[in-house]
Symmetry: D2
Subunit: 236 residues, 4 copies
């Protein structure tokens, strides 16, 4: 855990993966930055490595994250993503262990420690409650829990609330300062609304935004829904 | 092979690996760019992904390459390096299959095809003569041959000349438009001089530059030596 | 290439992958062994590592291959498949670089050299004509070409003949002692018949046999078809 | 955790890696089997895949483990080590996540679940206390902790006792039925004696046995030392 990193609920992660890059990613990032200010929320934008510096320089509130980095120390390692380079380019954190970029347990541990040392926040993916607690043992800043039980949706807000509470409790039993994002097939603003009402302090989305005919519009609706759901929940 | 990519002998590859990044890498790249003009030579600079756009925008003659990229199409692939993103950031080529980032044969083939399609030159590493010819079968723009027989040096210019000629002949028997760089433990300007005199049209260096107390000075001496050796050899 | 390894056309590779293992694999292997004698053909059986010794001891004509092995020398390497262990268990060869177990170019080269030294034949997969020639440069005993152009079938024996000839010629231009197996969505005995008539000296199948309600019956029909097609072709 | 698997303290793991295989491994395994009976201790022998069936059939008390296996279901996966095949060959467990065969967190979780389903005990490596607890969250049968703090030795039995106790407590806080082996540069019978006296219920060794001029003699001395140390400790 990189302690100086702070994130105030509610928070949202936009994951462009390799769907969006360059000018188009920059444009969406600038839009997201405006949404941070408008709704007083936090947004993490996990950019392509090549886009980090441009996006970091063009935004003020957005938390720019890398999609991965390596644990290599300065030195050898052609093709590796150096933590110091990610940091100097303007990122404030890094996503690790996504199902599309899985890391060995020891490597994950080392990479979190490298992030702590370099000064980058860590957002670490986990597929199940067991994995979420195992990840929490390694003390990242945040766990991105993608519980299969949450994927699917429908009119099942009560089950969702139980599942969200179960994951939050499990992670916080290990470390009560570890934040949890609940990502789970969030396909539109209604899913965002529901999961935040179900008790999640944060969520995120990739394909629903990236494949939308109007990514900026979809993102605006999701952020508005998150803000509203969180306000309603905390003032209930 | 991305046909529009042209490279005039002599040429040199600077490989910062994860030794150098950010402002320091930018500074060395700008210096290298000036050397291109001063000595009328070509220099490839294989930058960290995060540095590509800054270096590409700050230089005019330098060929900025990525240290690796993935074959992923636009879409899924958290943490992958998208060819289109590398291209749009300003790179003109990509290094592939370095011993520190080895690629499976099929993946290597796919990645070269992706580079051809996106418009990026390919510089593909090979450790032996057999691997150089196998790589040549996949039709990259350039092979970076690091023959064990060339590593070591000493007063063995005659052997070197045979080895360089042997590799050049083997690659060109497969494709006579494929360029060959001979990298082989190039530790100073004398090694650069010798290998170019031995028949290489291009060479490169990483650690001798990166670990030097004065990287720009070392690079200047190497480029001057390359230029001089090439001129002497071609006017003999 | 492990020179002492000989294979007389026609030849067939049965690839159990992880479909079949233990007693059931042993039973199929014993059946295949009888087919070798009955039809005077060669059959390669790429067994699970754990089954190699039992199958090797229970058969006389079958060529037992491992599905993969590592290049590790004797020593460190928990979980690695040691060439010497594969050899001593009774295997006579090894399959390498299958699309489900891809190898880096350098590792592939090293592993073929290890096989040569230990005394194991090498059967190396390649997905395209270019890959087949690249693989041939590394001098294995055999290339297992799975050309996309051959997959699909239908009434296209003329095209098949061209494609088979094209791959054979490309590989043999690199090394005329390298054997070629043409595997390509072989789904029944008719596919076997057609590809052998089209000029292939060898072929193979996995899923059509493994998923058959009667694997031994399917194998018998395929081997009979191979034998017949080869006899007809060579006596035409 | 595969519950039917039972292991009574003290226990010892012999890891032949790829040092020893075939007849020589079988010979050592038979010797180890006799030591189990003579000293009334448990010995795990992590064999090469190719040796599992022979060793399992030739021994009665030895716990034969695979050095790794894959999570693949029956079906595709050339070169993969199928859990069912490992089981049917006679193994009773599997070593996972050794530093020389690291597994991604999710894959590790899946593989432990596959072992549970197929009926194989799991012995999972961890390099630090944090990793040990993370691994324990995934509920294997045993954790093989190789704490850097234990490596080295010398006259530091008091520190060792603290470190062993610390790891045991951390793992058992997560699951009090999870066994812990403490492996840590065990180079001879004195190291075995010391670590068992320090509170470990189990330990193990690879290179000290494998590189010994007399592996069977070294193993005998280690097992005798383990038995004596455990008896002394538990009767103090």
């Amino acid at each position: 855990m990189f302690r100086p990193f702070k994130l105030k609920a509610p928070y949202f992660e936009i994951g462009p993966k390799v769907y969006m890059y360059g000018d188009e990613a920059l444009d969406l990032a600038i839009h997201a930055d405006a949404l941070c200010r408008k709704f007083d929320v936090e947004i993490i934008f996990t950019a392509q490595y090549t886009d980090i510096s441009r996006i970091a320089h063009a935004t003020t509130h957005l938390k720019v994250f890398a999609q991965h980095m390596d644990a290599n120390p300065v030195g050898r390692g052609v093709g590796a993503v150096l933590p110091e380079a990610v940091k100097q380019a303007g990122a404030v954190g890094v996503l690790l262990n996504h199902v599309e970029k899985p890391l060995g347990l020891s490597v994950l541990n080392e990479t979190i420690r490298r992030a702590d040392d370099v000064g980058l926040a860590t957002l670490v993916c986990a597929a199940t409650v067991e994995e979420s607690t195992a990840v929490a043992m390694l003390r990242p800043n945040m766990v991105l829990a993608e519980s299969p039980a949450l994927i699917g949706g429908g009119k099942r807000s009560e089950d969702d609330a139980l599942e969200v509470a179960r994951i939050n409790a499990a992670v916080q039993a290990v470390g009560n300062d570890i934040l949890v994002l609940h990502g789970a097939g969030i396909s539109d603003e209604h899913d965002v609304y529901q999961i935040i009402r179900s008790g999640a302090n944060g969520t995120g989305s990739t394909s629903a935004i990236m494949r939308s005919a109007d990514p900026k519009g979809m993102l605006s609706r999701m952020i508005e829904a998150m803000s509203r759901a969180y306000r309603e929940r905390t003032t209930d």
